[in-house]
């Protein structure tokens, strides 16, 4: 049998609408200041902000620059500030936003803008590196897997879900004013190992986070928790690290 290409029937059923996207753009070669730019495009009810950006880039202005890879909320490339809040463009449906006003799309705050929506993520990854995001053990390698009970696994389950999108770190008012602060993501990354019963590096990581620019800079504004596209309770993870430091108990 020959496969018959199905007509995209869905698109005729799905309502379409006009959306104005207000982009914060910056071209390092010609601009001294970032500027706003509006584009109105026709989109469908199933489209996400990322689809609107694609449409603009592919059909209107190919120079629009942003990061994305998976387009399915897994790679963490496309965190941006949508209507003033950090979101993944690929996880934000247009129909969930107020469409009578332009949708503002800006780069995430607190990091240097390289071009349009692309920021310099190096300091972010450096902070992550400095908390040693790998298993630290001593003694001989076991011949089989390292065992762990479901309860032990549950202690750090939440923080394993991080996709390193930087939505949390770049939503933090402390991080905006003090780039030296490790930021929520690095603490989430540390939490994932500190509370892992198989890991033996908790002391070292806690010492790193006990630093001036470590967990004590957190002022519990909860912007990180509100921003996390993975639903990680970021502020709670930070609090657990704080308490582990205070009571020296992991």
């Amino acid at each position: 049998m020959t496969a018959v290409a199905e007509a995209p029937a869905a698109s005729s059923v799905v309502p379409s609408f006009q959306v104005t996207v207000r982009l914060r753009r910056f071209n390092p070669e010609s601009d001294t200041e970032p500027r706003w730019e509006d584009h109105t495009v026709t989109m469908h009810g199933t489209d996400r902000v990322l689809d609107a950006l694609h449409k603009i880039k592919w059909e209107i202005d190919g120079s629009l620059t942003f990061r994305r890879s998976c387009a399915h909320g897994i790679c963490g490339s496309d965190a941006m500030r949508i209507n003033g809040r950090n979101r993944l463009a690929c996880k934000t449906l247009l129909k969930d936003l107020p469409l009578d006003k332009p949708i503002t799309v800006e780069p995430i705050k607190g990091m240097t803008v390289l071009k349009d929506l692309v920021v310099d993520m190096d300091p972010f990854f450096e902070a992550y590196k400095s908390i040693m995001p790998f298993l630290i053990t001593s003694g001989n390698e076991p011949t089989r897997e390292r065992r762990q009970s479901p309860e032990e696994r549950a202690r750090y389950d939440d923080t394993t879900k991080c996709i390193m999108c930087a939505a949390c770190t770049s939503s933090c008012p402390i991080y905006w004013t003090d780039g030296q602060y490790f930021g929520p993501q690095a603490i989430v990354g540390a939490h994932r190992f500190i509370f892992d019963s198989r890991d033996e590096g908790a002391e070292q990581r806690l010492e790193i986070l006990n630093d001036r620019d470590g967990v004590w800079r957190c002022r519990t504004t909860f912007n990180c928790t509100d921003a996390c596209p993975r639903g990680i309770e970021v502020t709670k993870a930070i609090q657990e690290v704080k308490r582990a430091l205070l009571f020296r108990r992991v």
């Binding site: 970032p34 209507n83 519990t220 928790t225």
Partner: protein, 125 residues
């Protein structure tokens, strides 16, 4: 290198605004205490001068400022307790929003009777 653009204001929620309000009230209370220590210290210079300065406080404008001061202290106190619970109570982060509402309710419950009583003194004589 371009500076990070200011862009729009970050649209944080209760947590962020409670933090902003905590800062603002904290700084406000600090300046009040500063002035307060200065005027109280005046007693040691001369009790008459002290009385004179305190007498200038007895006018409606200072009366309204006192409402602001009490409002700031009450918010700062309750929100401070909220922050303590967020950091020390294991369920604190999960209930921060509820606790923020509780701070607001307590603030209103305390401020309404105070404002009525205080302003009737200030304006009623």
């Amino acid at each position: 290198m371009p500076k990070a653009p200011a862009g729009t204001l970050y649209r944080g929620r209760e947590g962020m605004w409670s933090w902003v309000a905590h800062r603002v009230t904290g700084v406000g209370i600090f300046f009040f205490l500063f002035a307060h220590i200065l005027d109280t210290a005046l007693v040691r210079v001369s009790p008459e001068a002290y009385n004179e300065v305190i007498a200038t406080y007895k006018n409606p404008i200072v009366g309204l400022m006192e409402v602001g001061l009490v409002g700031a202290v009450v918010f700062h106190a309750f929100n401070g307790l909220r922050i303590v619970l967020v950091d020390f109570w294991s369920k604190g982060p999960r209930y921060q929003r509820h606790m923020f509402v509780a701070v607001g309710v307590l603030w209103v419950v305390l401020m309404v009777p105070f404002v009525i009583r205080h302003l009737s003194h200030v304006f009623g004589g």
